[in-house]
């Protein structure tokens, strides 16, 4: 970490152009003067190392340990949640390995746009890029809303003020817009500090929860609810996805990563293994410290059941150590905010890079592909991402189910492009084997095939749980495709790295 000769050298746009040309396997002499000028204006720096990628990977999804997964415990119990979580951990471990292979072969900020563009045509590239944009944008919205809600809860646990929630959410959006405009290396350092803070918060939780741990609460009798049996595992699965969804945002950092063929696989694998440890330990201690039904729902003063947005804080507040020490509860809640903010930071990174890449390549308005003259950060993309998020935060004041919709759209669009990306991997491996010389995921054919099968299984289960979100998702795809067909298709920028790579295919 830290500044080094590479960072200094890479801040020179000419060096960055050389590296982009190397990554798309083009000779510099093959670039036309206008293409060089375009890359010089639109290239990103390359300062990220293994530790940065690890921090981005862990930080971007660590909020999943703080809220969301606990809703799967409702009427399903801890064992169903464990099995669903292990399935999700396996799916994501295989997914990041296959994704690393694709992102090393095509290390561009566009990620899925580049994979689809190279595999088939601009249409598939756009569908994949648009899917990831929706996934990241709605995850940004969900996390901003949860951060606001968490702050409101901290200020008044008995009756969180909706206005405080909206103001806190908006403040988070503004703060991180400014941080991201400042620069990628600087925000990478902030990300690392917040990630350590979020992990430290979980360690505090495990230690506190261990003081009131009971195996009877974890392995109940019967282990799966009698009324549901194995159906409980299927019902818990959509919520288990929230543990790890959005880690693929790290693949978008490939264009800003030094030696992506080494850095991306190592950083992603270390991040995923860290996250699996966090998932298992958090599940174990949370379910061992407090009854699983209480972790999922709470009864309001009016007698209605409400979902719990703060399961770990509730568990700490309910155990004897928390009852005796208010400092422990509030200290943990304060540290827990690191988790939400770290995730918000990482997801905003992914959203802005996807908007930037689609704009730079001409699929969305070209203005979105502009970078700051000196800091080389995608200001217009960050502004659009922040404005959309802020709009939803304000709308949540009246639209009570905004966070549910945001989570469900994000998860569904994610699963769609996982399957498409694995199709791209199979096609490109067969058609252009040399593309994958730098890095090859283990278990060559079975691993991506298993990702496809498990993702399809998750979509099937998910759509059975809540089909209301499917029309909204279809509408969002129709809007994106409408823009693409009537405007974007005619203004695709041939000098964008994703297009140069496709030209060289």
């Amino acid at each position: 970490m830290g500044d080094d000769p590479l960072s200094a050298a890479s801040s020179n746009p000419e060096d960055v152009i050389k590296e982009v040309a190397s990554e798309v396997r083009l000779n510099l002499a093959e670039l036309r003067p206008e293409e060089r000028a375009y890359l010089q204006e639109h290239a990103l720096k390359k300062p990220l190392r293994v530790l940065d990628i690890w921090a981005l990977g862990v930080g971007v999804v660590i909020s999943g340990a703080y809220f969301g997964w606990n809703l799967g415990l409702r009427d399903n119990g801890p064992v169903a949640m464990l099995i669903a979580s292990l399935l999700v951990c396996l799916l994501y471990l295989m997914w990041v390995l296959a994704l690393a292979e694709l992102s090393v072969a095509m290390p561009f900020a566009g990620g899925p746009l580049a994979y689809g563009r190279r595999t088939a045509d601009p249409s598939l590239g756009f569908v994949m890029g648009w899917s990831m944009l929706l996934e990241c944008q709605f995850a940004t919205i969900a996390t901003a809303l949860a951060t606001g809600g968490y702050i409101a809860f901290m200020l008044n646990p008995n009756d969180p003020n909706p206005n405080v929630r909206v103001c806190a959410g908006l403040a988070t959006v503004v703060l991180f817009f400014l941080l991201h405009v400042w620069g990628v290396k600087e925000q990478s350092r902030v990300m690392m500090i917040m990630t350590y803070g979020a992990i430290f918060g979980l360690v505090i939780f495990w230690i506190a929860a261990a003081s009131h741990f009971s195996w009877q609460r974890v392995w109940q009798n019967p282990a799966l609810p009698s009324a549901k049996g194995w159906q409980a595992v299927l019902d818990a699965l959509p919520y288990a996805l929230w543990w790890l969804v959005i880690i693929e945002a790290v693949a978008l950092a490939a264009e800003e990563t030094h030696e992506p063929h080494r850095t991306i696989p190592r950083g992603l694998v270390f991040a995923q293994l860290t996250l699996i440890g966090l998932v298992v330990l958090t599940w174990l201690f949370a379910c061992g410290a407090l009854d699983s039904q209480e972790l999922a729902v709470t009864v309001s003063p009016t007698g209605q059941e409400e979902s719990v947005d703060y399961p770990l804080a509730k568990a700490i507040r309910s155990i004897p150590a928390g009852k005796q020490s208010a400092a422990l509860v509030y200290g943990f809640v304060m540290i827990g905010l690191f988790g939400l903010i770290a995730s918000f930071h990482g997801i905003m990174y992914g959203t802005s890079r996807q908007i930037f890449a689609l704009g730079r390549a001409g699929y969305l308005p070209p203005l979105l592909g502009e970078v700051h003259a000196t800091r080389r950060t995608p200001v217009a993309a960050l502004l659009v991402c922040s404005l959309i998020t802020a709009g939803f935060v304000v709308a949540s004041r009246w639209f009570k189910h905004a966070i549910d919709v945001a989570v469900l759209v994000s998860t569904l669009t994610a699963l769609i492009w996982y399957i498409l990306a694995m199709g791209c991997l199979f096609t490109l491996r067969r058609r252009e084997p040399k593309l994958f010389v730098a890095y090859r995921a283990p278990v060559h054919r079975v691993l991506p095939l298993t990702v496809i099968l498990l993702s399809a299984f998750a979509i099937y289960v998910y759509s059975g749980i809540d089909v209301k979100v499917i029309p909204l998702t279809a509408l969002l795809y129709a809007v994106g495709l409408g823009y693409y067909w009537f405007r974007g298709y005619g203004q695709i920028q041939k000098a964008a790295p994703e297009e140069l790579a496709a030209r060289n295919a």
Binding site: L6, S10, L224, W230, H261, L447, T450
Partner: protein, 93 residues
């Protein structure tokens, strides 16, 4: 970690160098992992069947079935992790 700027030629040589592990132990690890992943897919199929038709294909007691499923999933996680780490490690040399 490297401290030099990466040129196109050094990148090409890195591409040629990084062909991954090719020992017989590695091949066996990949084959075993693939076998366990197939078992995971079978497990998922069985779970769906057991969820919708609770009386079909029941193997043991509920607790034994749970332990078996958790064991298959945990084994798959351990093997994929091991394969990923060995693969990554070979790139460090």
């Amino acid at each position: 970690m490297e401290t030099r700027p990466q040129s196109a030629s050094s990148r090409e040589s890195a591409h040629k160098r990084d062909t991954g592990p090719a020992t017989s132990g590695w091949v066996r690890l990949e084959q075993l992992t693939a076998l366990v992943l197939v078992a995971v897919v079978v497990c998922v199929g069985w779970m769906v069947t057991a969820a919708y038709e609770p009386t079909w294909f029941r193997l043991f007691s509920l607790d034994a079935e749970i332990i078996l499923v958790v064991a298959v999933l945990s084994t798959a996680l351990i093997l994929v992790s091991a394969a990923a780490l060995v693969n990554t490690r070979s790139r460090e040399k």
